[in-house]
């Protein structure tokens, strides 16, 4: 029974954090071409759960998060999904090794994952629109997402501890 509740709690946590990440990405900090691109929090959250709850953040869940992100942000539907799904499939093997490593290594692993996601989405967007999206904007957004990883990761580890029993958290 305890295991069932633990699984439900973990699933709820994953869904809520992914939802919050997508909404945060969509908040209007600045509007239009002169605003600085805002980090893609959903990429951070997907990678975090791939490390810490791989049984939940499997390919179908990555697909669901990517689709929700594309629809909410108004991107070309499918470009973000496909980029996230392909990147997660490529990184799946590495995440097993990264799970027990210190934060710096996980951060480096995330850099690879984020680079893969943004590069794939850039290519897919270019192919869909027959026009190259401005690279500098993608680099700025990718860079900001990379810089935000440790902050979000530390905060989410604290959230992750809430659902655990005291003995396990020690």
């Amino acid at each position: 029974m305890k295991a069932v509740w633990s699984s439900i709690w973990a699933l709820a946590l994953v869904l809520v954090t992914c939802g919050v990440a997508i909404v945060l990405t969509n908040i209007a900090m600045g509007v239009g071409p002169n605003s600085t691109p805002w980090p893609r929090f959903s990429v951070i959250v997907v990678f975090f759960w791939m490390l810490h709850r791989p049984e939940i953040m499997a390919v179908p869940m990555v697909f669901a998060v990517g689709l929700a992100q594309d629809l909410v942000l108004g991107d070309i539907p499918g470009a973000g999904v496909l980029a996230l799904v392909l990147a997660s499939m490529m990184m799946m093997r590495w995440t097993v090794a990264l799970r027990t490593m210190p934060l710096v290594w996980r951060w480096i692993g995330f850099a690879g994952f984020a680079a893969l996601v943004f590069a794939l989405e850039w290519v897919l967007t270019a192919a869909a629109r027959l026009m190259l999206p401005p690279l500098e904007l993608v680099l700025v957004q990718g860079g900001m997402t990379f810089l935000m990883y440790p902050v979000i990761s530390v905060a989410m580890r604290q959230i992750l501890r809430i659902g655990r029993t005291p003995t396990r958290s020690l």
Binding site: V31, V59, D70, V72, G74, P77, L82, P134, Q141
Partner: protein
């Protein structure tokens, strides 16, 4: 055939491959702008817009405070400029009202059918796509407020985009700078027809110019109503530079200050009858009042 672990592994792989194929299918539908994805977009808008509006409130408040603080520091100069603007605009208002009344009388005399007139809705910007791949915003007005797909969106004076996805109380607006934006335009003076094409930068480009040799820096770029989506004559920007046959345009809209937008809602045509009394109100509304025929005859 399979042992326990092997079976679940095969199922897991099957589900993963299905998800990948579904992603490919959605990408193809998205890239070809297939209308079958529209209901999904509408549902996503309806669910996400209220959440974004509430969670974004502190951010918008902070932005407003920062903007106010900046203006406060320059209050004296700002006040002086506003006074000058008020004097200038008062003069123009008188001219506009006189011309509008004169125009209405002439139209009545000639039995003209007026071009479709417009209503305006004001909406708040509650979401922003983030920028790298799409230049779009979410606003808190939708089908319930009379917004329709293709509705033109303006800041105070200039066209900034059009509605592409519609929820009950929210809509997504693709900006003129987005890579998918194509707006038929006309350059004035010179009456040069062109297509304004966004490229996700702050300087959309003009292509398919009818008279390329006559484009000069500083010309105004206005909507031309070709295609019927944008009303004629809305300001889009000014010609900024001409380099290697590439004409760049600086948008008239100030996107940095964009917190509220105006949606242009088209109304039905209004035909003027010769025996009608035409009333032009101060707010620009035009009304016809039929003369009481029978009473007059008696």
């Amino acid at each position: 055939m399979f042992n326990g672990m092997g079976f679940w592994r095969v199922v897991g792989r099957g589900v993963s491959v299905t998800a990948l194929l579904a992603a490919v299918a959605i990408y193809i539908l998205g890239a070809t702008s297939d209308p079958r994805l529209q209901p999904l977009r509408e549902v996503a808008l309806d669910i996400s817009a209220p959440v974004t509006e509430v969670t974004g409130a502190p951010v918008r408040f902070t932005r407003r405070i920062a903007g106010d603080a900046g203006e406060f520091l320059d209050l004296a100069a700002y006040n002086k400029k506003l006074r000058e603007d008020v004097v200038s605009l008062s003069q123009w208002r008188e001219v506009a009202l006189r011309l509008e009344a004169e125009n209405a009388q002439l139209r009545a005399l000639n039995k003209v059918t007026l071009a479709p007139r417009f209503d305006y809705i004001t909406a708040q910007v509650i979401g922003n796509s983030g920028g790298a791949f799409t230049q779009s915003i979410t606003i808190n007005a939708g089908r319930a407020q009379g917004v329709r797909p293709g509705t033109v969106v303006m800041d105070g004076t200039a066209a900034i985009g059009r509605v592409v996805a519609l929820g009950e109380n929210a809509a997504r607006v693709v900006l003129v700078t987005d890579a998918s934006s194509r707006i038929p335009a006309v350059l004035q003076p010179g009456d040069i027809r062109a297509l304004l094409i966004g490229d996700n930068t702050g300087k959309p480009k003009l292509q398919f110019l009818s008279k390329p040799g006559r484009v000069v820096k500083g010309q105004r770029v206005l909507t031309s109503n070709h295609g019927g989506i944008f009303p004629k004559g809305l300001p889009l920007g000014t010609v900024d530079s001409l380099l290697d046959n590439v004409v760049q345009v600086t948008p008239s809209a100030d996107f940095r200050q964009l917190e509220f937008v105006r949606l242009v809602i088209e109304r039905v045509d209004l035909t003027i009858d010769s025996d009608a009394v035409l009333i032009v109100r101060a707010d620009g509304e035009v009304e016809q009042e039929k003369a009481d025929d029978e009473g007059d005859e008696e």
